[in-house]
Symmetry: C3
Subunit: 157 residues, 3 copies
């Protein structure tokens, strides 16, 4: 449907305070270095044989598919976290599975949950898991804060 399926992906995350919930969320995306891209939210599967790459700068305004978790809070002192995980199948012809999760709580807990979600999802498909990778970030709210974690699908030569 779209002419091309992206051939690589990277993990990124960030957190921020902001003037409003939306600004805190925007700030967290700026910290994650995707604040100038236009993220298109996906359901989300990882295309087979998508290469894992280092986060790279995205051209400003570019439309880029992403699976992401985002949370914001205005309760001073509250700890919020966002995480994403990818379960990679042993069979390279199959899609990987991306899961995202955000909640109040510490990042270790949120990341453990989202890793398990990705693992269970691949099992549901009857696929053996080769590896699980994940990223997470936590934020202690001062006034209004947000946390953001993403897997970005991207295209590289």
């Amino acid at each position: 449907m779209f002419e091309k399926t992206p051939n690589c992906h990277f993990f990124t995350c960030g957190s921020s305070e902001g003037f409003t919930h939306a600004n805190a969320q925007d700030g967290a995306q700026v910290i994650a270095k995707v604040g100038n891209a236009n993220l298109i939210k996906l359901s989300a599967s990882l295309p087979p044989q998508s290469r894992l790459v280092e986060p790279c700068p995205l051209p400003p305004g570019v439309l880029v598919p992403a699976a992401y978790a985002a949370i914001s809070s205005d309760i001073p002192g509250e700890v919020i976290s966002a995480g994403v995980a990818v379960a990679y199948p042993v069979d390279p012809s199959q899609a990987g599975l991306v899961m995202e999760y955000s909640s109040r709580g510490h990042k270790e807990d949120i990341e453990a949950i989202v890793r398990r979600m990705a693992e269970e999802g691949l099992k549901l498909r009857g696929l053996a898991v080769k590896e699980i990778r994940s990223i997470s970030v936590q934020h202690r709210v001062e006034k209004i804060g947000a946390a953001f974690a993403a897997v970005i699908l991207w295209d590289q030569k």
Copy 2:
């Protein structure tokens, strides 16, 4: 903007239990045979003269536009349903209208509601309705369950 507008569409639905709300939702999409695609949520109109086709397997990881209804619940015994409907106009140069609806309740009721929503939407545009098609699914929650119904826009020769 995107190089090509999809030329066909199909209906699909599914329901599932899962380890978490997200996993149940993922499972429902797997049952609906779109669990390995990357659904891009639309607002959503049906391109004029889009052909209705049988559900077809989607390449893993592919980005595919879709209008969908999704609901999950963790209340044992609760009945949840998701439905989508398309109102096709008599005038083939006009877009059809896709509506989606999900709620607690039985599928007959949810499907009747979403069909009426699509019909009313086409009337609002001053267009005569040629036909309404719909699909729905219901799920009785055991521990954590989800229901999912979609119209998938796709491209075929």
Copy 3:
């Protein structure tokens, strides 16, 4: 990733009553003249040097990226508003920032808030603001009403 980044944008808004929340929302998009397009929700940045154009008719069923605010209510007499703002940077090589906001309340208040959100977002990036543009709409609910405001990214010769 997508072959082409849209080269222009326009502002639009609308409000409507409807048979359900979804129909009211659909009606508001029809009033805004994007009721037959498939809006893909963005995060959202404005591509550098994107030209501001007059609202133009979109081909039915077309997939079009958009940043939008939407709200609906079924409380008779309630006033709801939706607004979007773009902060344009002085530096033409940088992306602009689109913010959206919707809430109960009058449009003057909602539009002032969303303008400030866009301004703060550009400041966060260390960019000088050249100009802020915005649009907003308000609706007094009769039975079920909705308000919708958007920046549509589009491609023109």
